[in-house]
């Protein structure tokens, strides 16, 4: 028999009474209760439509379709509206199929028809919601499907009155459980929103982890709960990520109907509620009631009434709007690229100039230039500046030399910055000639500062991207730097001074750049000290990126290949111009601090002159007042101009449930996001304090988390415990933190050159999680005994062997291993490797003939070589970002520096003063027990 709830006459509700194990029947208008089912019920049962569907006739044409949501929002306690008596009131959440009718469908007939479809039940959903995937509907019936009410009742029964499933917390003991690298590939804890929070059935209604991650997927309701748990609350956003092949592009709303909240200026999204018959909507961030724009239900393409439920912004968490003129300070600007090429002796000798010009030449085609508006300019510099004037239409160019670098001026008002399409011929000729033009250049020294000023002057009215290629420390003119590398300082408290900017020029210049919408990318090549820390300031504050190729030498084809690949990708990237990012959140939450490459222009506004793809930003969130709503919404809005000259707004909406339960808090923690946030925090701290402090800070955070977890979630409470407990979903956190502490950017060592450290820190603060996690916890494969299917093409491309834990115990003397961190790949060859293996992979007779170092693997005529090449290829391509890792061959008894470098990636081992994972855990345990014993 079906639940009595569906057999009740109007005005009655059934409530399950747990103590008496039977239903209590309530007359909702009077509050009268009785144990017997109301008599009228059985007579009407046959005719009454199934529960959950508003009888269309009963209400005439009254459009009450938001009640279900309101109900869900305020919990099930509220007395149900008598008109909805037949709905499953009392079961916690009202199920209102009728709410999903479309106000836009003008004809009543259509409405009625739709209702009928809804009544037919879950199986025949196809008609109206045909665009949805049926299997999804069946998975998520509580959202809007119409399965039999019994099932619903059961489901809601399990969910409790709040309608929210509980996270179940599994505690694991770290001491007995070695970390398994495969756990890192697991998705973040599921986001369990209350039912009916989202008005769209679309699986894309909540943000994908690649766009948005939160350290906690259930937001604590009060700041005291958060501080009790010791967990960090932060967001990791990558609003502009590259799309892999086969991925849908971000949906684009083209009709310029942009519904925004009047008060908090948030954009309409799948988490708002429509009220007053759909003529108004309630903002999910600030609860303000707003008018729905008139054209919201109008299909402007076909010029007929549209369906608001099918609007892209109501179904996708990540959408782009074409912005009308209100969102522009000026007409969309063209993309502008200025290349500053170092042509001093060192640069020419290393082959950088030749490789760079060839790469630009080869990639001219790929520079985004759809409307033929893109402008380009090339400036060379050593201690003077060399401009190239390219009159449109001709293939000639003339060089203009400016040697006055104290007061930089442009030698010519026009033709220096040329339209790419118009001056294509001249550019091609010029790029072919630059290499030989400076072939004999013996000038040593670099006037990088003046070159930057010149480039800046050239593009000031428009803004755009300056791409700097520099092979030596800037030595002339503004922004000249001194060699401050001092090996005695390394490993001491003063080391962090070397990681801070040496000259204020780069900071003030960066601010000027940010103001005039100029972004700077740095490509650095020096073999000697180049002060990466200072130069990286420019990309840091102008949303660019630093690329570093220490001791670049194009004579090695690997170097040339890596640089050409990465440089080409950077040039070809479709960038966002003139962007500002604002992150809004529900009331009570405040964005407290921001980490990443941008300039903070006001308390919550990030200015980015040009947004490159796949850069990640971390934002710390503060809970300012207690949160009373069942779920919160974070909305990231990026107002930008595409490089094709269109002003757009990208909106990424993410909804997270709130919780007042500590165990739910722990079980919803996302270890990847936490690590990403800590990496940013550690780098920031190493600059403001000391490197030592930053390591201590991170370690202390981890100890605090584990102590708090132990005190509140395990039976041992505050006492000492033989276990080191943490929830299942955070079990990789300690090893990730250990990896972070051992990362080049943070590691305790007196041997790391400041340039390498600074570059590593730049990576730590910009890499998206997908790249950052392998950078912190490298991947380790055993190749000589990999399963037969590894290296062959499978369902998702090349199959990779199973990753191993990062410990040298796994290294075998006769084996072939691969270690990679997304930036470098090491191929480790054991000293007893059989000649056949060496022959198959390297085409060499024996191990002794093999040489270590940078190498290219030739594709040989045997299956093993092909499989290994496929794996290397896959590793180079599978992640986002432009990086093309070098491949090093490491012999087990080869040169010590290379061997130690490769071994330093096995972070679970003991190295020097750095503890092994086991030691790390036992010291953690001591700290945790000691800390709680002290209370």
């Amino acid at each position: 028999m079906a639940s009595p709830a569906e057999q009740l006459p109007p005005g009655w509700a059934a409530e399950w009474d747990a103590t008496h194990q039977r239903y209590l029947f309530i007359e909702t208008t009077t509050g009268h209760t009785q144990w017997e089912p109301p008599a009228a019920g059985s007579a009407e049962t046959e005719n009454a439509p199934p529960a959950g569907v508003t009888p269309a006739g009963g209400h005439g044409k009254r459009r009450q379709y938001a009640a279900g949501q309101t109900q869900a929002y305020y919990g099930g306690e509220a007395a149900p509206d008598p008109a909805y008596g037949q709905a499953s009131a009392g079961l916690g959440v009202q199920q209102q199929g009728g709410q999903l009718f479309t106000p836009g469908l003008a004809a009543e007939g259509q409405f009625a028809n739709q209702q009928q479809i809804a009544q037919q039940g879950g199986g025949t959903q196809g008609g109206y919601y045909g665009q949805g995937e049926p299997e999804y509907l069946n998975q998520q019936p509580q959202q809007y499907g119409q399965p039999p009410v019994d099932a619903l009742a059961n489901q809601f029964g399990q969910m409790g009155v709040g309608g929210q499933k509980q996270f179940s917390l599994y505690t694991t003991n770290l001491l007995t459980l070695p970390p398994d690298p495969r756990d890192l590939a697991q998705p973040p804890p599921e986001i369990r929103l209350p039912p009916n929070a989202c008005i769209s059935p679309s699986p894309t209604a909540n943000a994908d982890p690649s766009y948005f991650r939160s350290t906690l997927n259930a937001i604590p309701t009060t700041s005291s709960l958060l501080s009790k748990s010791k967990m960090p609350l932060a967001l990791v956003i990558t609003p502009y990520r590259s799309l892999n092949e086969g991925e849908e592009p971000v949906p684009l709303v083209t009709d310029t109907v942009i519904a925004r909240c009047r008060r908090c200026r948030s954009y309409i999204n799948p988490y708002v509620q429509f009220i007053d018959g759909g003529s108004r909507w309630r903002c999910c961030l600030c609860s303000m009631t707003n008018e729905v724009p008139q054209l919201f239900d109008w299909d402007q393409v076909r010029n007929q009434p549209g369906d608001r439920w099918q609007r892209l912004e109501m179904n996708h968490s990540c959408v782009e709007y074409v912005a009308p003129t209100e969102y522009m300070v000026r007409p969309p600007q063209p993309a502008v690229y200025i290349f500053l090429i170092d042509v001093s002796h060192a640069a020419v000798q290393s082959g950088m100039v030749a490789t760079a010009t060839r790469t630009i030449l080869e990639n001219l085609e790929r520079i985004p230039d759809e409307g033929e508006r893109t402008k380009i300019s090339i400036i060379c510099y050593d201690t003077s500046l060399y401009f190239f004037s390219m009159p449109p239409g001709s293939t000639d160019s003339s060089m203009l030399v400016v040697s006055d670098i104290d007061d930089v001026f442009l030698p010519k008002p026009t033709d220096l910055l040329v339209n790419l399409a118009e001056a294509r011929g001249a550019l091609e000729v010029l790029l072919g000639r630059i290499g030989e033009m400076f072939q004999e250049n013996t000038i040593i020294g670099s006037a990088l500062g003046p070159a930057l000023q010149a480039g800046f002057k050239l593009m000031t009215p428009i803004g755009g991207k300056i791409i700097v290629l520099s092979s030596s420390l800037p030595s002339h003119g503004a922004g000249a730097l001194k060699n401050r590398e001092d090996n005695k300082l390394l490993g001491t408290a003063k080391e962090s001074g070397l990681l801070q900017a040496a000259s204020p020029f780069y900071k003030t210049f960066a601010i000027e750049c940010s103001r005039t919408q100029v972004s700077v990318d740095m490509f650095l090549f020096s073999s000697a000290y180049q002060d990466v820390a200072t130069l990286a300031c420019l990309p840091h504050y102008t949303s660019g990126q630093t690329y570093y190729y220490p001791a670049f030498n194009a004579a090695r084809s690997e170097d040339a290949l890596k640089f050409a690949h990465e440089f080409g990708e950077v040039i070809a990237q479709p960038i966002m111009l003139e962007a500002v990012i604002r992150v809004r959140a529900s009331r009570g939450l405040r964005m407290a601090s921001f980490h990443g490459n941008f300039f903070v222009r006001s308390t919550d506004l990030l200015a980015m002159p040009a947004v490159p793809q796949d850069q990640s930003y971390a934002i710390e969130v503060q809970i300012e007042e207690a949160i009373t709503i069942p779920f919160v919404v974070f909305q990231t809005a990026v107002l930008h101009t595409t490089c094709y000259g269109e002003r757009r707004i990208r909106v990424i909406t993410a909804a997270l449930p709130t919780t007042s339960n500590l165990s739910e808090l722990y079980s919803s923690a996302d270890q990847i996001a936490i690590t990403t946030f800590f990496a940013n925090k550690a780098v920031e701290r190493s600059l403001t304090h000391k490197l030592e402090d930053s390591r201590d800070f991170i370690l202390q955070k981890l100890v605090d988390i584990i102590s708090a977890y132990k005190a509140s979630m395990t039976s041992s409470g505050a006492g000492a415990s033989a276990q080191l407990a943490i929830s299942e979903n955070m079990k990789m956190l300690p090893v990730l933190i250990l990896g972070l502490l051992k990362n080049v950017g943070i590691r305790q060592s007196a041997q790391i050159p400041p340039d390498i450290r600074a570059y590593s820190q730049a990576l730590l603060t910009t890499l998206p999680s997908q790249l950052l996690i392998p950078y912190i916890y490298p991947t380790f494969y055993s190749l000589h005994n990999m399963p037969p299917e590894a290296g062959t093409i499978g369902e998702h491309g090349v199959i990779l062997p199973p990753p191993l834990p990062l410990t040298s115990e796994r290294l075998e003397r006769h084996g072939l291993f691969l270690i990679e961190d997304g930036q470098t790949i090491f191929l480790w060859v054991g000293r007893d490797a059989v000649p056949q293996l060496i022959q198959d992979v390297f085409e060499l007779p024996s191990y002794d003939a093999l040489r270590g170092g940078k190498a290219t693997l030739n594709l040989l005529e045997n299956q093993f070589s092909q499989r290994i090449n496929a794996i290397v290829q896959k590793i180079r391509e599978m992640r986002r970002g432009v990086y093309y890792p070098h491949l090093y061959i490491v012999k087990e008894d080869g040169e010590p520096p290379l061997r130690l470098w490769a071994l330093s990636m096995l972070i679970q081992d003991r190295a020097d003063v750095l503890p092994s994972y086991q030691q790390f855990l036992s010291s953690l345990k001591d700290k945790v027990n000691g800390a709680s014993g002290g209370y």
């Binding site: 900071k507 960066a510 601010i511 103001r515 601090s593 300039f599 222009r601 006001s602 506004l605």
Partner: protein, 136 residues
């Protein structure tokens, strides 16, 4: 004579007090986004050195006049300012301003309190000195 020195000091402290109030107003402007951080820093950086200088000048007068208590009262602030100058942290940095704003605000409130106390102290000393002169 001592009375006139303290009269000058009273006016001087009042001027410094207003200067600090101006700083505080600017901070709140920045917080509520009435001014962008670049303009904010350019504007305030002009006043940092004059403010330090003015305060040091007052202390110098006390030193020359041999007003030891007044000098002693001012010494900690001079040391604080000098320390900031030596570490080159006295200027406002537009890239860091939102991170350091709470510190700056705290410092500004402290200085307001300090100048206010100074003001009343100088006023008291001025009155005492004038009464003493009138008696003499």
């Amino acid at each position: 004579m001592g009375g006139w020195v303290f009269l000058f000091a009273v006016l001087y402290a009042a001027a410094l007090l207003f200067g600090m109030v101006f700083f505080v107003i600017m901070y709140s402007d920045l917080e509520s986004d009435y001014i962008n951080p670049i303009d904010f820093c350019n504007k305030l950086n002009q006043f940092v050195i004059p403010e330090y200088g003015a305060h040091a000048f007052l202390a110098l007068i006390f030193l020359l006049r041999g007003e030891w208590t007044a000098l002693l009262w001012n010494l900690p602030l001079i040391a604080w300012n000098a320390n900031k100058l030596i570490n080159k942290t006295h200027m406002y940095d537009a890239t860091e301003i939102f991170r350091t704003l709470p510190q700056h605000q705290k410092e500004a409130y402290f200085k307001i309190g300090f100048y206010l106390l100074s003001f009343f102290y100088y006023l008291y000393r001025m009155i005492v000195a004038f009464i003493a002169e009138a008696d003499a």
